[in-house]
């Protein structure tokens, strides 16, 4: 039985990846947006390296958060419109698992590239090299949370005509705790303070979100579909 689920999940993953990779712009645009936002800050605030290093963790995280909002609306939109979402509900494999597969794909296409270009962003903003590993760890732990919590909002608003505005209204407040913990960790790394506890807290936050949100997303998908 479990093997059956596994093959179904693998098929789902493959299909979602294929569909998403067909539209490369959806993957590249958020990254370009991220670069733009990051480069706006030195222009607006002035290129003083101390100031930039001081605000770098917050700026990178806020930009990551906004970039992840960009493609969120489309996470379930196309599947909802062509009826694939209903088929997903009817699959023998449990809906939370199927939804987790979708979250994973979303993370692979938005979260992972973000983590990969983060060193470049950190360089642009003069973040001290010692804080870079911590920044990467927080992004690695935090971006799945962005995808998962964002999926809840996307599933809730998928059947709305203009869901985008409502979506960001719902999702942004839920991102704030993540932002607090992540930036606090990077900031203490900048000052050379111990960060292990904060990283553990972030990790537990991430694990908790990833285990619980699939159920919320599944419930939301069911509500939206019928």
């Amino acid at each position: 039985m479990t093997r059956g689920y596994r093959s179904q999940l693998a098929a789902l993953l493959k299909r979602d990846l294929k569909v998403a990779l067909r539209r490369r712009s959806d993957v590249i645009n958020p990254l370009l947006f991220l670069f733009m936002v990051i480069s706006l800050f030195p222009v607006a605030i002035g290129p003083g390296p101390d100031i930039l290093a001081r605000i770098a963790p917050g700026v990178i995280w806020v930009a990551a958060l906004l970039a992840s909002l960009l493609g969120l609306e489309r996470l379930f939109r196309d599947d909802y419109q062509d009826g694939t979402l209903e088929q997903l509900v009817l699959l023998p494999c449990p809906l939370p698992l199927a939804v987790l597969a979708k979250i994973l794909v979303h993370w692979l296409l938005t979260g992972l590239p973000l983590v990969l270009i983060a060193p470049l962003l950190a360089l642009l903003l003069n973040l001290p090299l010692s804080a870079l590993p911590v920044l990467l760890i927080t992004l690695l732990l935090g971006t799945p949370v962005l995808s998962a919590v964002g999926a809840v909002g996307a599933a809730l608003t998928v059947s709305l005509q203009r869901g985008g505005a409502v979506l960001s209204l719902l999702v942004l407040p839920l991102f704030i705790p993540l932002l607090i913990f992540a930036t606090a960790a990077v900031e203490s790394a900048v000052f050379g303070a111990p960060v292990f506890g904060q990283l553990l807290l972030l990790a537990s936050f991430s694990i908790l979100t990833l285990t619980l949100t699939p159920f919320a997303v599944a419930a939301a998908v069911k509500v939206s579909v019928n």
Partner: protein, 259 residues
């Protein structure tokens, strides 16, 4: 117990029950509100550190506590609505959210007005304040989602799911004072936990806590009654109730006496 609870899944029975309780709850709320606030404002002693500015506590703390209490209540109702598909529970989400939002606003505003003389600033991005602000956003999100759908039931369920997800914020508000002590220490609660408040100050606070609880309940009951009417507008009993209320209530009373 299930037999006793079951009729209240229907709108009309709940409407009548709430109507019977509402006057009592309202009267008690007004009474305790007057006693608590007058006692706190005029008769309680001044604080030895903060002088008379501390009197804001008699609205600030109750509003803050019940802004969270209302959210917890709303989340419980959302859970009941989603699991047992009970419509009165769905409607109570819409009844509780605005009340909770107003309480949150009061807590934030009085906090700002208290912070200005004590901390020297209206607002700091301290964890308590930030997470309470998130609570306000969550209430706004629940209301927006509730009314965003053309089909009212879908809206209620979607809002319910959001309310349940947002429960994460409650422990964050509660423990924020301990978690985020790096940026700003001395949030309000720790100040009062330390000297375990003098009894002459504590009593009026307890009474106004009771008052805010009753007031929240009264508002929710009033709004839930209207929410029931709104959703059952096409039913004959609602028409009777709204267009000629005297005869309707008399009818129902006599029916109840018979049965």
């Amino acid at each position: 117990m299930w037999r006793w609870l079951h009729p209240y899944a229907k709108g009309e029975a709940t409407y009548q029950l709430l109507g019977r309780w509402l006057p009592w709850v309202t009267a008690l709320a007004l009474l305790s509100l007057t006693v608590g606030l007058v006692w706190g404002l005029a008769f309680g002693p001044a604080d030895y550190q903060q002088g008379d500015s501390y009197r804001i506590i008699y609205i600030h703390v109750p509003a803050a506590i019940f802004s969270m209490g209302a959210y917890a209540g709303m989340a419980i109702m959302a859970f009941i609505a989603l699991v047992w598909q009970i419509r009165t529970a769905e409607w109570s989400i819409a009844a509780i959210a605005p009340v909770g939002a107003v309480l949150t606003f009061i807590a934030l505003f009085t906090g700002a007005a208290w912070g200005k003389p004590m901390w020297g600033t209206w607002w700091v991005w301290d964890a308590r304040l930030t997470s309470e602000l998130i609570l306000l956003f969550l209430y706004a999100g629940v209301m927006a989602l509730y009314y965003a759908f053309e089909d009212a039931r879908t809206g209620a369920k979607a809002a319910g799911i959001l309310a349940l997800v947002g429960v994460v914020n409650l422990p964050i508000i509660h423990f924020s004072v301990e978690w985020w002590n790096t940026l700003h220490q001395g949030a309000t609660i720790t100040k009062f936990a330390k000297p375990s408040m003098a009894t002459e100050m504590l009593w009026p606070l307890l009474i106004s806590l009771l008052a805010f609880a009753l007031m929240t309940a009264a508002f929710v009951m009033l709004r839930l009654r209207h929410e029931i009417l709104r959703h059952e507008l096409h039913r004959p009993w609602v028409r009777e109730e709204l267009l000629n209320p005297k005869s309707a209530s008399a009818d129902i009373n006599s029916q109840q006496e018979q049965s």
